[in-house]
């Protein structure tokens, strides 16, 4: 025992030899504590702790591992079988956003307001919100020449997108325009686009505003 009360801290004396440490502890490992009149509480307490840890651990694992699904990252996800979970589809408008962001945003801008004097706005535009036939034709074959949008004159070229985009993409992007920035017009289906594409199959030139006004 370090009975030296001088707190000199020069040398630490040992109070037990290595051999005896090993011998004594090997003995202690084999013998359980003596039951001194009654049941020893500690081993019971330890047992209780172990069982508690395993129990609560298992419950937590069952609740929060979501069937060990490799594609689930949220512990609040549904614990049903993957097959039983319906794919939640995005609306056409939501899907169309991606097309808009890659194709239309350069001219018509992210706000849909266009550039004054250059590119017409889509917000509140009678061309976008009006007849399906007109807007689909514009997207398919492009637009050229003077056009009046919301009382203002524009004279520019819109490139045709019928070759670059599929029917579904065109339907999506038009639906997006019709549902964004306060616009509220019914969505357009791919079938409608396909029908217009078939109707105008031979067309190779841009539309003009005058021609489109003939279309209902």
């Amino acid at each position: 025992m370090s009975t030296e009360p001088d707190q000199n801290f020069r040398l630490e004396q040992a109070c037990a030899s290595d051999e005896s440490i090993q011998q004594v502890h090997a003995q202690l490992q084999k013998t359980k504590p003596e039951k001194v009149g009654g049941y020893p509480l500690l081993p019971l307490g330890v047992l209780g702790l172990m069982c508690g840890a395993v129990f609560f651990g298992s419950i937590y694992l069952a609740h929060n591992s979501i069937r060990f699904d490799p594609l689930v990252y949220s512990e609040q996800a549904s614990r049903e079988k993957p097959g039983a979970i319906k794919i939640i589809p995005l609306t056409r408008a939501q899907l169309g956003k991606r097309v808009f962001d890659t194709t239309c945003i350069a001219c018509h801008q992210a706000t849909g307001l266009g550039v004054p004097g250059q590119y017409p706005p889509l917000v509140g535009s009678e061309w976008a919100l009006g007849s399906e036939e007109r807007i689909i034709r514009i997207v398919l074959h492009g637009l050229n020449g003077p056009i009046t949008v919301e009382g203002k004159e524009y004279n520019n070229i819109m490139a045709p997108l019928g070759e670059a985009l599929k029917d579904e993409q065109i339907a999506n992007v038009i639906s997006y325009v019709r549902a964004s920035w306060g616009n509220n017009a019914p969505e357009v289906t791919p079938e409608a686009v396909a029908k217009v594409r078939a109707d105008t199959a031979g067309r190779k030139t841009y539309w003009t505003a005058a021609e489109l006004e003939q279309v209902k």
């Binding site: 020069r10 030899s17 502890h25 609560f56 060990f68 689930v72 996800a77």
Partner: protein, 479 residues
Amino acid sequence: MNFTDTNGRTEQMEIDASAKWPVLFIFTHALAWLIVGGALELAAAIQLHTPDFLADCAWFTHGRLAPAAQNALVYGWGFNAAFAFGLWLMARLSATTLRHGGWLFVAAKFWNIGVFLGVAGILAGYSTSFELLEMPRFVTFLLLAAYAIVGVWSVTTFSIRNTENVFASQWYLFGAAFWFPWLYAVAQVMLFRAPVRGVLQPVVHAWYVNGLYGLWFVPVALAAAYYLLPKILGKPIAHYYLAPLAFWWLAIATAFAGGSRLIGAPVPVWIPTLGTVANFMLVVPVVLIGLNLFGTLAGRYASLSGSMTLRFVFVSMLAFVLASVCNFAFALRGVAETVQFTLLYGLRDWLLFYACFSTAMFGAAYFILPRLTGHEWRSPALVRIHLGATVLGVGLLTGGLAWAGWQQGRLLHDPAVAFTDIARAMTPWLAFRTGGLALLLLGHAAFLINFVLIACPVFSPGTAPAQINPPPALEVLKA
């Protein structure tokens, strides 16, 4: 040398003699890294509240300096200290000398060259960006080769042991000796040699970091505590029959606990859940180890005042409990939501590495070095400075980081708070951290001076040799 003593005593001096030069050699490197790493860490800490500090030089930009400091401390100080202590203790408890110690010099040199190249590589821009694995790839083989020598020496010493009985410290050292090379090699292969795809990389990384702290540093610290307590108090470990259970439970639970570092991450949710469950399970071994260690100290707290080693070991034990509480708390999803990515995670890791492991190594060093060198510590004042600086520094750092981390977490959680406001809230507490690190560096310097005085033969003429009394046999007290 008194050969008429019992066999045991002669062997002990022989063992110490055989271990002397390898252990001193390794420990010198350890201390050198402690100072260098500590200085780098201090510089990195200053950068946190004074971003302009050293920002002009690409070598010392914070993104390179902080990892370099951490790697220098962990692989430089941490591993060297663990090697030195582990080799000596394994030899002592196996009651056999450390054979062919010359190879250990080679191993130490390789290891330290590797760490030096690694740290320099990080500063030069070859970092891999995975925390604690930032050292560039060319260093891996050097480190593994050096470790192989040390590991094989440790395990072989164990296998040729002259004792029938295997003590708890030996289990922990044996375990640590096996676990580290596996962890390191698997991590290197799965992250850099044949990299896994996508988010699996952070999964492997979390497994490695958790294993490094929980299956290498903590076992070595526990080996020190389990040995030094009965050795100095002369009282056997309390409730020792629980120790094997604690060892196995700790091993298995810690191996899975890495997932809790990935709560909320884009990895399959069962991984962090498993990590949290493993952390729940870790309560059991922590309680058992606490019973073992604190039970042994129970009623003997007065002896702390007379023993420098025990004081350090006591700090280590307290830090172990605190770190385990942090581990448990941070594994709970609700707490992790606020606490993740803040300084609190760093605090938990630092508590494990410095406050638990490093203080245990300091305590062990104060016990071992007089026996190896045959001299007493020259300056008790420096020992006191080291002790006081450590306690104060640990307190400052823990308090500062805890408060700063909590503020950071709270403010991060509120989306309305801008980042500049968060920075402003943290800055005063980060200054606490810098102050704590400076204090710790001061303590380390005191230790270094004492070490040089005791180990360097230049300073020994004129000092009395250490009078190491033969220790009595341990008594088994009737509980």
